[in-house]
């Protein structure tokens, strides 16, 4: 298990835990890149997904476009933005937002489209307007899938923010890229280990968050149908 020994030797040295290129600062940078990208992607993809799902128009196109959209290689887009626009916030922001959009969009759409038609009929029968139907029925019912989309997107973004180091910004990817460049396998292994742990923590966080935001009615229903 030489990977683990290398990683452990690198991690336990105190100098990795302090200073401007120490692990705590790198983790904060990593979370900043990921968090901002996820937020912007959600602000774009959730409303679009709700709109397409609510009006039941353009779903086909959206789902197929989202599938091909996944093919955009983040590394390529990242480098293209740097070569065209230079280094800056946009250099890492654009590729990470692009990466996070498809899972959020597809899940939001599927969530809204999948709402039981009888439920919608009942809501309309009670005199709800389209807007009320969206906010009071469709969105709450779609929350589990929307959360799943956000979680998938968060995992993608945290995992991929690693690559941003290739263009010279901070974050945990620095350890891997710098370590590979200077043949310091300990640094590479230690960096990889920290990223893996962070990714698993983020996943656990979103799984936990789900419990808080899924409406009580849906949770009860899920339990009784088991």
């Amino acid at each position: 298990m030489s990977f683990l020994t290398f990683a452990w030797d690198w991690l336990k040295s105190p100098q990795q835990w302090q200073g401007s290129d120490g692990i705590p600062i790198r983790i904060l940078q990593h979370l900043y890149y990921s968090g901002l990208s996820l937020l912007i992607a959600a602000l774009i993809a959730v409303p679009v997904g709700l709109l397409i799902g609510h009006h039941r128009r353009g779903g086909f196109v959206a789902v197929n476009v989202a599938n091909i959209w996944r093919a955009i290689p983040t590394l390529g887009l990242l480098i293209l933005v740097v070569v065209l626009l230079g280094l800056g916030v946009l250099a890492w922001l654009i590729p990470l937002v692009v990466l996070a959009i498809p899972p959020i969009l597809v899940n939001t759409y599927e969530g809204v489209v999948g709402v039981d038609p009888e439920l919608k009929d009942a809501a309309r029968g009670m005199g709800m307007t389209g807007w009320q139907l969206l906010w009071k029925v469709e969105v709450p019912c779609a929350i589990p899938l929307i959360m799943l989309g956000l979680r998938t997107a968060a995992i993608f973004v945290v995992a991929t923010a690693t690559i941003a180091a290739e263009i010279g910004v901070g974050g945990l990817g620095r350890y891997i890229i710098d370590g590979l460049a200077s043949n310091d396998y300990g640094e590479v292994a230690g960096g990889a280990a920290v990223i893996v742990v962070l990714a698993l923590l983020i996943q656990a966080l979103f799984t936990g968050l789900r419990r808080f935001v899924v409406p009580r009615g849906l949770r009860l229903q899920a339990r009784s149908s088991r």
Binding site: I68, A71, L75, I79, L80, G114, T152, I155, I195, V196
Partner: protein
């Protein structure tokens, strides 16, 4: 954009494209070969599925670059170092789809098959698996497209793929090369996606010619959307 660069460098573009295609197709295929029997086992033995699902969704969270790095130590700087992580990701996408696909077969259909004298194995091969095809292909589309896209990361550890044009383009500050890499990645993905949709149409003749006939490019069953 310097168009003349493309024909001049055709002799390097072609091999990198083929390598990328290989890295994009082999992992989903291995993933399929593993996930079908495992999926069948999960449907037969219900208790098996929840723990496996937690494992696969945890695996899905691992950054591919970090996995490459972990594997370098064991498999060196070869194709295998890229193929193993991409296979794991494909597996994470495919397993839930195989299980959902098999579970989506309705009980009356199953009973009809049994009533016609089908044994368990024959029912599985001739009824349940074919009916699961659309859902499995939905997963395969995601696995193939993602693998084609992720393969470019292999170049960071020196495994040849279209990622070569990104890194070389960055070092030479030459956008044309990056455009070519991006366009070829998207083209490969689109090509494979169209082939998979065509395969779904061929493999599910009963879905054609219905009142609401799904167009060949219709989304079909919900595209799996990440680890549940």
């Amino acid at each position: 954009m310097q168009w003349s660069w493309i024909p001049q460098n055709w002799s390097i573009i072609w091999p990198y494209t083929l390598d990328n295609l290989l890295l994009g197709l082999v992992p989903p295929l291995i993933g399929l070969v593993i996930s079908v029997p495992v999926g069948i086992a999960c449907v037969a033995k219900r208790w098996l599925y929840p723990p496996l699902l937690s494992v696969t969704s945890a695996l899905y969270a691992l950054p591919s670059l970090a996995l490459f790095v972990v594997l370098i130590d064991y498999t060196g700087l070869g194709n295998l170092t890229v193929i193993i992580p991409l296979t794991l990701f494909s597996l994470c996408v495919l397993l839930p789809n195989v299980v959902d696909g098999l579970r989506s077969v309705q009980e009356p259909v199953r009973q009809a098959a049994t009533a016609m004298g089908f044994g368990q194995l024959r029912r599985l091969v001739q009824v349940e698996l074919p009916l699961a095809v659309p859902v499995v292909i939905a997963g395969l589309r995601i696995a193939v497209v993602s693998s084609i896209s992720l393969a470019s990361l292999g170049q960071l550890i020196g495994v040849s793929s279209l990622g070569y044009f990104f890194i070389d383009g960055l070092q030479r500050d030459f956008p044309t090369e990056i455009y070519v890499g991006l366009a070829l990645t998207l083209l490969l993905a689109l090509l494979c996606d169209v082939i998979l949709v065509a395969a779904r149409t061929v493999l599910t003749p009963w879905a054609r010619g219905r009142a609401i006939a799904p167009s060949p490019l219709a989304p079909g069953p919900p595209l799996a959307i990440g680890p549940p």
